[in-house]
Symmetry: C2
Subunit: 167 residues, 2 copies
């Protein structure tokens, strides 16, 4: 199956431009990336927007289908080193798909406190939603088969690439 | 402030047409209304689509801002008399606003089991989202001031009306 060109670096620039336009100057803005792809994107967004409040979530434990998916060997601890209460959180994921990861991430954030607002940024929206979740910022909408998955990778020099895997 | 004509009955017909077009024939479809306005809409949708699996949620207890809003005297018990596990749930609310009610309703549904999918229908979307939630079906998008609230009422003859309250 042919796929449109997926230049992860170009998509990141599109996403960053959207976020900058909308959120520059936002009071108490914090950025939280979902491991692993969302964490890389969050780091770059935080640097570009000069946001010091940055955190990371691994929601593998919290997804409702945890029992079915099992635990990857590389699960990382969540790390939210700032006050969530009253903050505007930009939650960052690489690919928005069913919405179950987003739900798990939102619930985990609420475990830390009650944010004023949570917005969602994703590099790609591949459709296939199973929960009524929508991204506030998305670089590209793409249609994939169910047995395909998008993988964001980071090279040693920091460059991001996207590949499509077939199950 | 002038407001566009809000004919609740006409809006309901619009919503019902959308839902019918998209969901007629869906396997294991259940409808869950959020008290009180969403419950009235859910009853009518279930009747029109001939869906026997219908439930009701009161999320007053579950909203994250429960402590701030307090408890209304007329809080009703949630009632989900069917198997949630594996079902497609059409969640019905009267007005979609911050998304906090939707989050609470989704979490309450997951307390009962793990649905295959949850979709959201709302009569009105008034913007002002504080969580990345979106309706799958909405009859009308409307812009309101923060101090305004939309109230759906049901007359003795079952007729629905919408009024705007000022705080």
């Amino acid at each position: 199956m042919t796929l449109p060109e997926l230049d992860a670096e170009a998509l990141y620039q599109t996403l960053e431009a959207q976020v900058k336009q909308e959120l520059t100057g936002t009071q108490r803005l914090a950025i939280v990336g979902i491991y692993s792809g969302g964490a890389w994107l969050a780091e770059r967004l935080a640097q570009s927007l000069q946001i010091k409040e940055i955190g990371f979530l691994d929601v593998s434990f919290y997804r409702d289908d945890y029992a079915k998916r099992g635990l990857h060997a590389d699960v990382k601890p969540s790390h939210i080193p700032f006050e969530i209460e009253g903050a505007t959180i930009l939650l960052v994921d690489d690919v928005l798909y069913t919405g179950r990861t987003t739900r798990a991430a939102i619930n985990t954030l609420f475990d830390y406190g009650r944010p004023a607002r949570i917005m969602l940024a994703a590099l790609l929206d591949r459709g296939g939603r199973q929960l009524p979740v929508a991204a506030d910022f998305v670089a590209k909408i793409i249609k994939l088969e169910e047995n395909q998955s998008l993988i964001l990778k980071k090279a040693d020099d920091g460059r991001l690439t996207l590949t499509v895997d077939h199950a």
